[in-house]
């Protein structure tokens, strides 16, 4: 190969650069809706990484749930509550210093763990993750079955939905 980088590597660098840059912008932006849009770009780049791994199902879930669902909800609530001229005040210097220290410590910890861990390259052939496989493992309870977590999460979601309805319900006044 007379090229320094392959196409895959270029794409990986592009996506990871986007994730890093927009993550930083998300927390430093002082306009709330812009922060939401930067978050959206982070989530879309992450789904780009999943597409690169040929795991299209997870990529599409990432796009529908996070980008199309959660970010839309965030933007929706911002739309209802804040005005275009509003800006966050810049936090106090001490808070900035604490935040910087905490994030640098976290980054050092993560990077250190990643670098010291020896990754063993897998020798198994890549599985074709199709819908039948995912559906079967979601509702089977034997080996590699996810029936219990699936049902538990459903109950959690149901409880959350009922709670939301109770909170939003109008209280009858006499």
């Amino acid at each position: 190969m007379d090229y320094i980088l392959s196409g895959n590597q270029i794409m990986f660098i592009l996506f990871s650069a986007m994730i890093v840059i927009f993550s930083i912008l998300t927390v430093t932006s002082r306009r709330i809706l812009r922060a939401a849009v930067y978050l959206l770009l982070v989530l879309i780049s992450t789904s780009g990484l999943y597409f690169m791994l040929n795991y299209q199902f997870l990529a599409a879930v990432q796009l529908t749930l996070y980008a199309g669902g959660i970010v839309v909800l965030i933007i929706f609530s911002v739309l209802l509550t804040s005005h275009i001229d509003e800006k966050f005040e810049s936090p106090a210097l001490l808070k900035k210093v604490y935040g910087a220290i905490a994030s640098i410590l976290g980054a050092v910890l993560v990077i250190n763990t990643l670098l010291s861990y020896t990754f063993i390259p897998g020798i198994e052939p890549a599985k074709d993750v199709n819908m039948n496989l995912i559906g079967n493992s979601l509702i089977s309870w034997g080996e590699q079955g996810y029936a219990l977590p699936f049902e538990l999460i459903s109950i959690l979601l149901l409880a959350a939905m009922i709670a939301a309805i109770v909170v939003a319900k109008k209280v009858k006044t006499k």
């Binding site: 809706l33 812009r34 849009v37 199902f57 599409a60 980008a67 839309v72």
Partner: protein
């Protein structure tokens, strides 16, 4: 170079071979991607312009008028003239708008529809990306478009735009459920989400016929919810001209307005394409199934050979345009709904019917009651 209008696979492979034989693989890949991108851009622009013209002609026909008839024969170049006019218009600078988001919004809308159109099978070998989760992918990327609309409404710093964006958001978020579930109904019948396999499974009868009752219900729900998802009349509350001037794109002018306009028509095209692919057999010709073959014998075989002479791309376009005509017919016939009627229709009627329909389809598939 073997060019065959019925099957583009060999044509594509010969281009692929030509590029890879003469260039290093990296550049061959880049050139292939560019070629496909340019082809899609051209297709996108031409179909968009054609649909605007078609909408005006259909509207005129329904309202007993002539419609555009000055530029070119039957006015077919009217939209090209309009487009050139739009390109030359001044882009009005909104001083109190959030510039970054204001400029970003039209691109989000147009990129979302562009990503969706890439997964649509136009014919044998005319299919850019064929994911094993095709239907889900189209759903996922087309759900991004609403973000552009919400951003456009908010960053314009205009009350009408904001109300339009809110309405549009509420509408798209709720009707997305119905679109998804009606597609899930067909996915149960097909047993796959891959669009090429869905088309292939309809060789001996389109799903709307083989899946009979639940498939027809799903098709009706899909058309209603799809019309609502594209913000078209009678669900065009987001840009209700009589109340909100133009809704979320009030403040946009020139080419940015053209982006919204084009994206709206292309979203209609995408919804119609998905309807045609999933329910009406995509590029598959209308074949008589084995049941009718027993009944009609030789005639059915002759019919099947006869329809195969029409190239797949024309079958695909014909079905898509039929669905588009249906959606235009809706727009110019029904009065606009109120927001409460709109949400009631979705949450109280379409969603329960849809859930029941999925169970019905699962039962029919389990018992083998489909054709």
């Amino acid at each position: 170079m073997a060019f065959n209008i019925y099957d583009f696979t060999s044509f594509n492979q010969s281009i692929d071979k030509l590029l890879y034989d003469n260039l290093p693989p990296f550049w061959a890949l880049i050139i292939e991607m560019t070629l496909i991108g340019v082809a899609f851009l051209l297709f996108y622009a031409l179909v968009g312009l054609f649909l605007v013209y078609a909408e005006r002609k259909v509207c005129a026909f329904i309202q007993n008028r002539v419609g555009p008839n000055r530029v070119g024969p039957y006015g077919i170049f009217q939209t090209f003239a309009d487009f050139i006019k739009l390109l030359m218009k001044e882009i009005i600078h909104i001083r109190k708008a959030d510039q970054f988001l204001f400029n970003l919004a039209p691109f989000i809308v147009i990129i979302a529809s562009f990503m969706a159109i890439a997964a649509i099978p136009f014919g044998l070998g005319l299919h850019a990306i064929d994911f094993n989760i095709g239907v889900f992918y189209v759903m996922a990327v087309s759900s991004l478009g609403v973000i552009g609309i919400l951003l456009a409404g908010w960053s314009s710093n205009n009350k009408y735009s904001l109300i339009g964006a809110m309405r549009s958001g509420a509408q798209i978020v709720s009707y997305e459920l119905s679109v998804g579930m009606s597609l899930v109904t067909i996915v149960i019948l097909a047993g796959t989400m891959q669009l090429s396999e869905i088309v292939e499974a309809q060789r001996n009868g389109w799903f709307i016929f083989t899946g009979h009752i639940p498939a027809i219900i799903a098709f009706l729900i899909f058309i209603i919810a799809g019309t609502a998802e594209t913000n078209r009349g009678p669900f065009d509350l987001a840009e209700a001209e009589s109340e909100l001037t133009a809704g979320f794109h009030t403040e946009y002018s020139g080419i940015k307005f053209a982006f919204f306009f084009l994206a709206e028509y292309m979203n209609m095209f995408i919804v119609a394409s998905i309807a045609a692919t999933v329910f009406l057999g995509g590029w598959m010709p209308l074949h008589l199934g084995p049941l009718l073959t027993d009944l009609l014998g030789n005639w059915s075989l002759k019919f099947n050979t006869g329809v195969d002479f029409i190239p797949p791309f024309f079958w695909y376009m014909g079905k898509t345009l039929l669905v588009i005509f249906l959606m235009m017919w809706f727009k110019w016939t029904f009065p606009r709904l109120r927001i409460d009627q709109l949400l009631k229709l979705e949450w109280k009627y379409l969603l329960p019917i849809n859930l029941f329909n999925i169970i019905l389809m699962a039962l029919i598939v389990l018992m083998g009651w489909h054709f």
